[in-house]
Symmetry: C2
C-alpha cells in the first residue's frame, strides 16, 4: 500500500466509522447474533500468497466482520461495563499507530514518556488524588493488580526475588479480599505464586462489601498460624454490584499489620471526577496502589488502564531490568517506563488519553457522569416501585442489579431460571444487552448504565423490554 492508497482507504474508513456509529449501529442488534464458527467460515484457512487485498478486505467488513460484532458503543448496551471509545480517542490512537513510536525507554521516543506523565498527572488531579501519587498507563486492571500483588510480595519478603523468590521457605505470604472481588484477584494471586490456599476471599455484608471484623479476624488467625499477611485488595465498586469496601478501615488494618493496600476502582474510579462521589473511597490516600480504567466509563479507547503508586522507586526496584542494549545517556534524568510494568515494549497510549481529555473537558465529563448516575437512580426507583421486581443491591453508582418473581410461589431454582431466561430473551431480541449474573447463589440481571449515547429514553426502553421479557406485558 502506498501513501495514496492509504489516504484513499483511510478517508473511506473514517467515513465508515462515522456512519457505523451514527446510523448503522443504532439499528443493529446490540449483541451479535452469529453462531459459533460462522465468522471464521467467511475467511480462507490459508494465508494470502499475493498481496494487494486491503481495499477488498475493507469493503467486506460489513458482510464478514460486522455481524460478529457486539456493539459496545450502542445506546442500549447495558452489559459488563461502559466502554465508550470516544471519537477523539480513536483519533489519538490513530496518531499513535501512524507515528509507530515505542515508549519502552525515554530515549526511544521522549514524547511517549513525557505526554504519558502529563496525562497521568491530569487523571490524578481529576480523581482527587494528591501529588504524592505517580501514575503509569497499563493495559488492563488485571495486569495492574498483578503488578501490585508482586510488589506487595517483594516488599513483604525483603525483595526475595533477588535470591530465592517465593521458594525461600519462609512463612507463606497471604492476600486478602472480599468474596465479591473481581476474578482477576484470584487469577493474579495464582500467577504471582501465592497459591489459593493463601488467598482469603472473605464473606461480605448485606451491601456486599468487605467486613472489617472478618478481615481482622482472618489476619490474626493467619498470624497465629505462623503465616505472613501481605496484601489487602479493596474494591471501590465491585464488579457484581458496585459494592464499596471500607477503604479507610482497611487502611487502618494495613497500617497496623504492615500490609500492602491495593484499591481496585476499575470502573468506579471515573466517578471520582465528581467531588460528591469521593466519600466512596475515603482513606484512599493511605493505600499503596490504585487502579482505575479510563477505558471504561471515562471514554478513552481500550486499552488504557491507569495505575497509581505512592512509591515508584519500589515499583521500579521490582520491575527494572537494565541490559546494556537498553541503557542510554539520559537514564539518570528521566523515567524509563519499561520499569513501571511487565511488558518491555510500550505503545504510545498517552495520545488517546490526551485527545479524549482535551476534547471532552472535565466539566462536560462531570455532566455526563451525573446523567448516568441519575439514570441509574431512576431505574432503581422503577424497580423498587414495581410489584414482583426486586433490587438486590444498593445503587451508589451506575449499576442496577435486579430480579423478578422473588415473591412468587415458585422455588429458588425456578426463579433463577426465570431470571436467566429474562436476560437471555432481552439479549436475543437485540433490543438491549444485559449481563445475567449470580449474586450469592441468586440469579440476577445486571444493568450497567453509562455508554456515551445512552439517554433516559434508552433506559426507559430497557425497562419496558425487561418487563415484557418477564411476561408482564
Amino acid at each position: 500500500m502506498d501513501a495514496n492508497e492509504f489516504r484513499r482507504l483511510g478517508h473511506a474508513l473514517v467515513d465508515w466509522i462515522a456512519e457505523y456509529r451514527e446510523r448503522k449501529m443504532p439499528a443493529l442488534p446490540v449483541m451479535s447474533q452469529v453462531k459459533p464458527g460462522e465468522i471464521r467460515a467467511r475467511f480462507p484457512a490459508e494465508p494470502p500468497a499475493r498481496g494487494g487485498g486491503a481495499a477488498a478486505a475493507l469493503a467486506a467488513v460489513d458482510r464478514d466482520v460486522l455481524p460478529g460484532v457486539t456493539h459496545w458503543n450502542h445506546p442500549s448496551f447495558f452489559a459488563y461495563f461502559p466502554s465508550n471509545t470516544s471519537y477523539a480517542s480513536i483519533l489519538g490512537d490513530l496518531l499513535s499507530s501512524g507515528l509507530g513510536a515505542q515508549g519502552m525507554s525515554w530515549a526511544t521516543s521522549p514524547a511517549a514518556t513525557e505526554i504519558e506523565e502529563v496525562v497521568m498527572g491530569w487523571l490524578r488531579q481529576m480523581i482527587g488524588l494528591s501529588p504524592a501519587w505517580s501514575g503509569v498507563v497499563q493495559d488492563t486492571a488485571s495486569t495492574a493488580t498483578l503488578t501490585a500483588l508482586v510488589c506487595a510480595r517483594e516488599r513483604k519478603s525483603g525483595f526475595a526475588q533477588s535470591h530465592a523468590g517465593l521458594q525461600c521457605r519462609e512463612a507463606p505470604l497471604v492476600v486478602y479480599a472480599s468474596d465479591q472481588a473481581h476474578s482477576s484477584i484470584e487469577k493474579d494471586a495464582c500467577l504471582a505464586g501465592f497459591g489459593k490456599d493463601h488467598l482469603r476471599l472473605l464473606a461480605t455484608d448485606d451491601a456486599h462489601a468487605l467486613r472489617l471484623d472478618l478481615l481482622e479476624e482472618a489476619i490474626r488467625r493467619d498470624l497465629a498460624a505462623g503465616l505472613r499477611p501481605c496484601a489487602l485488595v479493596a474494591a471501590t465498586g465491585t464488579t457484581a454490584t458496585t459494592a464499596l469496601d471500607p477503604v479507610a478501615g482497611m487502611a487502618d488494618l494495613a497500617g497496623r499489620y504492615g500490609l500492602w493496600l491495593h484499591v481496585d476502582a476499575a470502573l468506579a474510579g471515573t466517578a471520582m471526577v465528581l467531588p460528591e462521589c469521593r466519600w466512596m473511597w475515603e482513606g484512599v490516600e493511605r493505600a499503596d496502589s490504585v487502579v482505575f480504567n479510563p477505558h471504561k466509563w471515562m471514554g478513552i479507547g481500550f486499552d488504557f488502564s491507569a495505575y497509581f503508586v505512592r512509591d515508584p522507586q519500589h515499583l521500579v526496584r521490582v520491575m527494572s531490568t537494565n541490559p546494556s542494549y537498553l541503557r542510554t545517556a539520559h537514564d539518570a534524568e528521566v523515567r524509563n517506563l519499561r520499569d513501571w510494568g511487565i511488558p518491555l515494549g510500550r505503545r504510545f497510549r498517552a495520545l488517546k488519553g490526551w485527545l479524549h481529555l482535551v476534547d471532552e473537558g472535565v466539566e462536560a465529563m462531570q455532566a455526563r457522569i451525573r446523567r448516568d448516575l441519575d439514570n441509574a437512580r431512576w431505574l432503581a426507583e422503577q424497580v423498587d416501585a414495581a410489584p414482583g421486581w426486586e433490587r438486590v443491591a444498593p445503587v451508589p453508582l451506575q449499576l442496577v442489579c435486579l430480579r423478578h418473581g422473588q415473591a412468587g410461589a415458585r422455588d429458588e431454582a425456578a426463579v433463577n431460571a426465570h431470571n436467566l431466561e429474562i436476560a437471555n430473551r432481552v439479549n436475543r431480541s437485540g433490543r438491549a444487552y444485559v449481563t445475567p449474573s449470580l449474586l450469592k447463589g441468586k440469579q440476577m440481571i445486571r444493568i450497567s448504565i453509562g455508554a456515551e449515547p445512552t439517554e433516559r429514553r434508552h433506559v426507559e426502553a430497557l425497562w419496558a423490554a425487561l418487563r415484557e421479557a418477564a411476561g408482564e406485558d
Copy 2:
C-alpha cells in the same frame, strides 16, 4: 466531537500520517534530539476544564509532539529492532478502535475471537509450524514468556497454584537460559516467583549460543542438590547478536528431564517465513511454547505478539477464571481468549494482522525479508574487509554487530569508550540511529536492518556515517 468533526479531523489526520511518512520523516533526525522535560513543558500541568480542544491539539502535533518522536519507521532506523507498522496495519487498528469491541469472551464480540483464530492460523502456517500448535495474540514477548514460565511452573508442580502455590515448600523449581537471553527472561522468572537463585543464565559459546554441555551439567547439578529443573528458554536469535540456541538439543534435554521448553523467537520468527531459514530453529516442533513478534520485522503495528502452545488446555487450566458474570450460553463450543493470557480485557488486535497480511501477502513479505538479509550480509562483508573494523558475531539474520579500533594500541577501556562515542555521534547527527551495546564486556555497535523503507543505499550511507564517526573520513 460529533460525527462531522470526526470525519473532518480524521481525514486530515490520515493525510498528516501519509505526509509524515512520505515526506517529513526522511528529512528529520532519526533519534529525537530533545532534552529531558522539553516536551512535558509544552503541555499544561492541569487538566482542561473545557472541552472542544481536539482540532487545536492535532494542529499542534508538529510543534509539540513530533520533536519528541524517534522515528522507528525511518529508512535509517537501525536501532533495537525493526518495527514497521505498515499502512495497512494502521488501518486495521483504526477499524478496531472504531468498532470499540471487546474480545475477552467469544460472546463479547465473536468476530474478535474468530478472526484472531484465522490470523493466528495464517501466521502458524507462514512460519512453518504444524497444525499441532494453537496461537493467541498477546501484547509483547515479555508477557508471553511470563505466561510460558507460569505454565511451566504449574505443570511441574502439579498445579500447585490451586493449593499452596510456590509457597508449598517442595524442592525449588529452576529455570535455565543462556546469559545472552533477553532481559525479560530474568524479569519474568522473578515475577513468576522463582527467584534469581533459581535461574541459571549459562555461559555461551563463541557464537554466543547456549552450550548444551553446560546446560546438562547445570540440570544434573541441580538435581543432585535436590532442586527441581522446570523450564528451558531457547533463544532463536538473541537480542544482542541474533545467536541461535540449539533448539533440537534443548528439546532432547527437555524430553529427558521432563522440562518445559519455551522458544523465544521474538525477532527471528519473522525469518521463518523463508523456508531456507527454518534450520535455525530445528527441533521447534518438540517445544511446549513459542513466541514471535509480528509487530517487529513482519510489519504489523505494535502491539501484536504471537504466542503458540502445543497444549492449549494446559494454558487454559492455568489462566482460566469463570465468574458468573462472564459465563455465556456458548462457552462449551467456543474459545474464550481471556483464558489464554493474563489480561481479562482484549482489544480486537486481529484486525491489524489481517489487514497487513492481505495487503502484503506472503510472497512480497518473503522478498522483503530476503532483501534485508542481503543488506546485512553486504554490511558484514564491508566490515570484514575494512582494516580497523571487527565483526563481533556471526550474521545469520539482519543484525550486524561491529566494533572499531580493536587492533590499535589503546587499552580495552579506551576502545570501549571510542565505540560508544562512534554510536553516540551517529545518533546525535540524526543521520541514523544505532544501538550501542556491551557484548561480554566489549562495547559494540549493533546495527539492526529491516525497516520497511530501508534499501541498500541507506545501509551504504550508514556505513559511511560510521566510518566518518570513527574518524576515518
